[in-house]
């Protein structure tokens, strides 16, 4: 009797390469492996030695439940890693497509290639002082630092900065990343929040030196156009139980002006803010009365945050040591056409600051080969039609697809990333099913390039979990690529 192994290893599998192992790449792999009836060999390529992208290095450490998608990805990998089923899954970490292996090679030697490498860059303010002032960080580097990303975890830019003088903080932008950063800074001294997380221990010990007194979250538009979602907003207000108090000036938050709003999420956003700004005794809904707020923090200090609106940053000034001193902002007006213009009736405002974080969005970057391959790229993302990547002459590029933030821009939560990935996987399956003949695809030889495999990740993961267990945390991450390769 022929055993299953002999049977299945001889199946000519079509080869699919996915570039990037974050949620979009992994959800694409998951759906392909779950739904495809034709045998597939799915390879996920990751530039870091470890998988999961922004789930591992973007999601805030106090939101472990959001990382639970990693369990789905792990199960999917484990089910398909052995060569004994219909499909075969492979993870190759530590190799950057476009550097050690060209995109051209993948496209010509695989049956399908899916770009899911996310947004590796970020938007800039382009104002004086932005890139040469100590104490000015981008959200990407700050989040990567506290999440222990190997490129940032021990970066001197953070290690050498004097955190013990950080009292007043400005954050430009008001998306969920801005709110995550605000929450981390404001609650830096509340051990019960951080001691049970996988936050970079080096980062939290430095952050805990900062005697934060105020965090201003500065938006260019008005309250209605805030980018955060209600969950993150609610969490920030809920810090009142630790004596961390929020506010919005009545200039920007006037409930009487919001009466015509019908949008569900927006109505709820208004309710959250107006309830939390009431005295505790005057609140009506039970969910706003769970914990009585404290006026001061446990160490007796005042600690506040505020949502600030209709301000455009103009310039950053530094002191004699090169540290940030102040940020100048210009008042803005929102026209009836929803355009921003300078409000010339008011003079510029100067905020004295000790730390400024710009959080105005991640931006996708083209791969080097896009221009020679004539792949269409515009406004931070790959241009697709019906999930297929377009050439510069607007023709679908053969065998090339894109999903996740490199396709949609850096917006949306996990549900949109997941649905987008499923949709792209369905298109790939449909295209692969059209042509049933055996392909000329071939394995990509990586024997001479240092890389990690799924088995390596399993060992790294086990070491991280073990190290975490010793200190009562869910995990303690390796902070350098080198230590990941050595697993120690």
């Amino acid at each position: 009797m022929m055993n299953i192994r002999t049977l299945t290893t001889n199946i000519p599998r079509k080869r699919v390469s996915i570039i990037g192992s974050g949620p979009s790449g992994f959800y694409t792999a998951y759906h392909l492996l779950k739904k495809s009836k034709i045998p597939l060999h799915v390879t996920i390529w990751e530039k870091l030695p470890v998988p999961f992208g922004l789930s591992r290095y973007g999601v805030a450490p106090d939101h472990p439940e959001v990382k639970n998608c990693e369990e789905t990805f792990t199960q999917c990998a484990e089910e398909n890693i052995q060569n004994n089923g219909l499909h075969k899954f492979e993870f190759i970490g530590g190799i950057t497509i476009g550097e050690q292996i060209s995109l051209q090679k993948l496209i010509s030697e695989q049956d399908a290639v899916i770009l899911s490498y996310g947004s590796s860059g970020e938007h800039k303010l382009n104002i004086p002082g932005e890139s040469d002032t100590k104490g000015v960080f981008t959200s990407r580097e700050f989040v990567s630092w506290y999440n222990g990303h190997p490129d940032y975890a021990l970066n001197p830019k953070f290690m050498d900065f004097d955190w013990s003088h950080v009292s007043k903080v400005g954050i430009i932008g008001n998306g969920n990343v801005a709110l995550d950063i605000s929450r981390v800074l404001l609650s830096n001294k509340i051990d019960e929040i951080w001691k049970k997380t996988d936050i970079n221990p080096v980062a939290i010990s430095l952050l805990q030196k900062a005697p934060i007194s105020n965090v201003k979250i500065i938006g260019r538009r008005d309250f209605i156009h805030s980018k955060f979602t209600n969950k993150e907003l609610r969490e920030l207000w809920a810090l009142e139980r630790y004596g961390i108090r929020g506010s919005i000036s009545s200039e920007f938050f006037d409930v009487s002006k919001f009466s015509s709003i019908n949008d569900r999420a927006l109505k709820r956003r208004i309710e959250i803010c107006s309830e939390y700004m009431k005295d505790f005794s005057e609140r009506t809904k039970a969910s706003y009365k769970k914990y009585e707020p404290l006026e001061l923090t446990l160490d007796g200090s005042t600690r506040t945050w505020e949502l600030d609106y209709l301000k455009a940053p103009i310039k950053i000034d530094k002191d004699a040591n090169g540290n940030i001193k102040q940020l100048t902002v210009r008042n803005q007006l929102l026209t009836d056409e929803n355009k921003l213009v300078d409000d010339t009736s008011k003079s510029d405002i100067v905020y004295g600051l000790d730390l400024l974080i710009t959080s105005i969005g991640y931006a996708g970057k083209p791969m080097k080969e896009f221009s020679s391959l004539n792949i269409k790229f515009n406004k931070d993302r790959v241009i697709t039609k019906d999930n297929r990547v377009l050439s510069t002459s607007d023709v679908a590029f053969p065998r090339l697809y894109a999903t996740g933030w490199i396709q949609s821009g850096s917006q949306g939560v996990i549900v949109s990333t997941m649905m987008n990935a499923f949709n792209v996987a369905d298109t790939v399956i449909a295209d692969l099913s059209k042509n049933d003949s055996t392909t000329n695809s071939q394995p990509i030889d990586v024997t001479n390039i240092p890389h990690t495999t799924w088995k390596d990740w399993e060992e790294i993961n086990k070491r991280e979990l073990d190290k975490g267990k010793q200190s009562g945390k869910p995990r303690e991450k390796f902070l350098t690529s080198d230590s990941m390769y050595k697993h120690n």
């Binding site: 939101h63 439940e65 959001v66 639970n68 998608c69 369990e71 789905t72 979602t229 209600n230 969950k231 609610r234 949008d263 569900r264 999420a265 927006l266 709820r268 809904k285 969910s287 993302r381 019906d386 999930n387 949609s408 821009g409 917006q411 949306g412 939560v413 996990i414 549900v415 949109s416 997941m418 649905m419 987008n420 499923f422 949709n423 792209v424």
Partner: protein
């Protein structure tokens, strides 16, 4: 700012006590998402639960019924034990319901549309659930998260539909 609140129209054509569908193929527009619900060849099956994943086996005589209407219009009815969540039931039977956050009310991937006849029998959603429903696609007035609804005698026989997503997500969906 493009959330749609639609009075679940898909239920209006549901008739008869056992919910067997006699309507021909219908497609309904919920927001901009087409839900193809009721193909004429809709399969209807009742499965007695034996042992699926970590689902409990209901005690004899205490089985509760739940019917899922799948994205292709097929209906699946299961007999389950009290206290199981809809997400666990769906995943235990390999239905296409994702729980990206593992059922901890931190995403909206297990969004279900509840038959209005049963909706009011459910305990009210918490603020945390509503925060997630804000971000669900094809939201209706009877939308809930599958991970937050536990089976109880009050909702024995409940019917829920899995929202279909038939188009790609693009940047304009979020602006």
């Amino acid at each position: 700012m493009s959330r749609f609140l639609v009075k679940s129209p898909i239920w209006r054509s549901l008739s008869g006590s056992c919910g067997l569908l006699k309507t021909s193929s219908q497609s309904l527009l919920v927001g901009r998402y087409t839900l193809n619900r009721f193909p004429t060849n809709a399969t209807f099956s009742t499965t007695r639960l034996l042992q699926h994943g970590h689902l409990k086996k209901p005690n004899p005589g205490e089985e509760l019924k739940i019917t899922f209407i799948l994205k292709d219009g097929a209906q699946k009815t299961f007999e389950v034990a009290e206290g199981e969540t809809m997400l666990d039931i769906a995943q235990g039977h390999n239905l296409d319901m994702e729980g990206a956050c593992g059922g901890s009310c931190a995403c909206s991937t297990c969004h279900v549309i509840v038959d209005p006849d049963y909706y009011d029998a459910l305990p009210e959603p918490t603020d945390e659930e509503n925060d997630m429903l804000d971000l669900a696609y094809g939201l209706t007035e009877t939308s809930r998260l599958g991970c937050q609804i536990k089976m109880s005698k009050d909702i024995d026989g409940i019917r829920v539909a899995l929202p279909a997503m038939t188009r790609n997500v693009s940047a304009s969906d979020f602006s």
